[in-house]
Amino acid sequence: MFLTNSMFGIELSELFLFARQLGLVLIGAASLWGFVLTRWTRHRSFEKDCLVYDWIGAKLLLPFFMGVAATLLSWVLLTSFNLAKAHEGIILASSQNLATQQGEAAGPFLFIWLLVLFFGLLLKKMRPASFSQNMEWFYGVHFLFALFFMSFFAWTGEWNKEQLFYLGHSIHSIFTLGTVLILDFLFITSKFSAILKQHVYPLFPTLSKVILVGLGIDFISVALVFNEAIQLTPKFFFMQTIIGILIINGVLLAGPLSRRMLHSQKEGGKRISLSWEKIGGIAGIISVASWSTVTLVDFFANLTLTYIQLLVFYLVLVLVLYLGHTLMERFQEKVPAFLEHNR
């Protein structure tokens, strides 16, 4: 019963649904980029680069397991759920009964996933060297599981444009919110090591491309249901405002800022100034806040907050993330000796 209590039109069950989606998004994105990084090194065969990318790939286990924790905890807490609503504040409600049936049907697959996860962890504990050499397969398998669960929960029972809409909305979050979180994680991880920056910064244009394409997938899926789903609510206007901000902010990050960061890491390149580093940090925070906000607010079908109230929530989130960022940088653990080379 407590799951149906609501405030500002926000149901507790909707929060848990968001938490589960966020968990799956983290698993999917950490697995995707973990696979790319660890697999990539096998082809390049540069000894030192191999070590660095493997180290970074292993670091992505942290957001991966955070995603696992969020997914499992919210799955347990949920007693019923709705399919993901529309993005951009354009609403398409789903059938409660169908969603509940899908939740129950997913149980056996959850068990299989947990078994696979357990064996992976067992291998990591018993034979760490073997796990490290085969990390890309660990990531690859869990990326497929994340994709499967997100698709499963978006399944309506028949193939039509509504189904394509739900699939597009569900899965694109791995490429948008998930990749943004991983990009931010990599940025913080590499902050105090020039060697890490030299390996991580060149990845940023690719990550940015994936994020922008992911948003494009979202735009296309919304276009499929636009006529029947459009509602000019404060939520719609707020979401569109945030999307406008994240496009402009994303261009700044992916364009001029990325170029300065890449140039600063090249041999003979001038060190990026502190003010540009600061701008980069703030742009990253705005990116994370914006993507988190649009994904979160999407889950609330009957939101009663006004446009201004939503805007205040967004600004508070930006501030909280800024403080969180600062704290994370302070507690950033020392890098191994082979990565030490401050610049």
């Binding site: 491309k209 922008l212 394409v213 735009f219 276009a223 206007f237 406008g244 901000i245 261009v251």
Partner: protein
């Protein structure tokens, strides 16, 4: 700035500009134009070296 970035910035600004127009007149033309600019910008961006 590169062509792709110009298209994307215009898309973002057009999207923001379209909102008061949607609120008062209900017209989605600029909103749609913003999405088109976004699509073009992303294509340029993806194939940009």
């Amino acid at each position: 700035m590169k062509h792709s970035e110009v298209f994307l910035v215009i898309a973002g600004l057009a999207l923001l500009l379209s909102l008061p127009i949607i609120a008062h007149a209900g017209g989605f033309s600029i909103w749609v134009v913003a999405k088109v600019f976004y699509g073009v910008g992303v294509i340029f961006f993806v194939f940009n070296k």
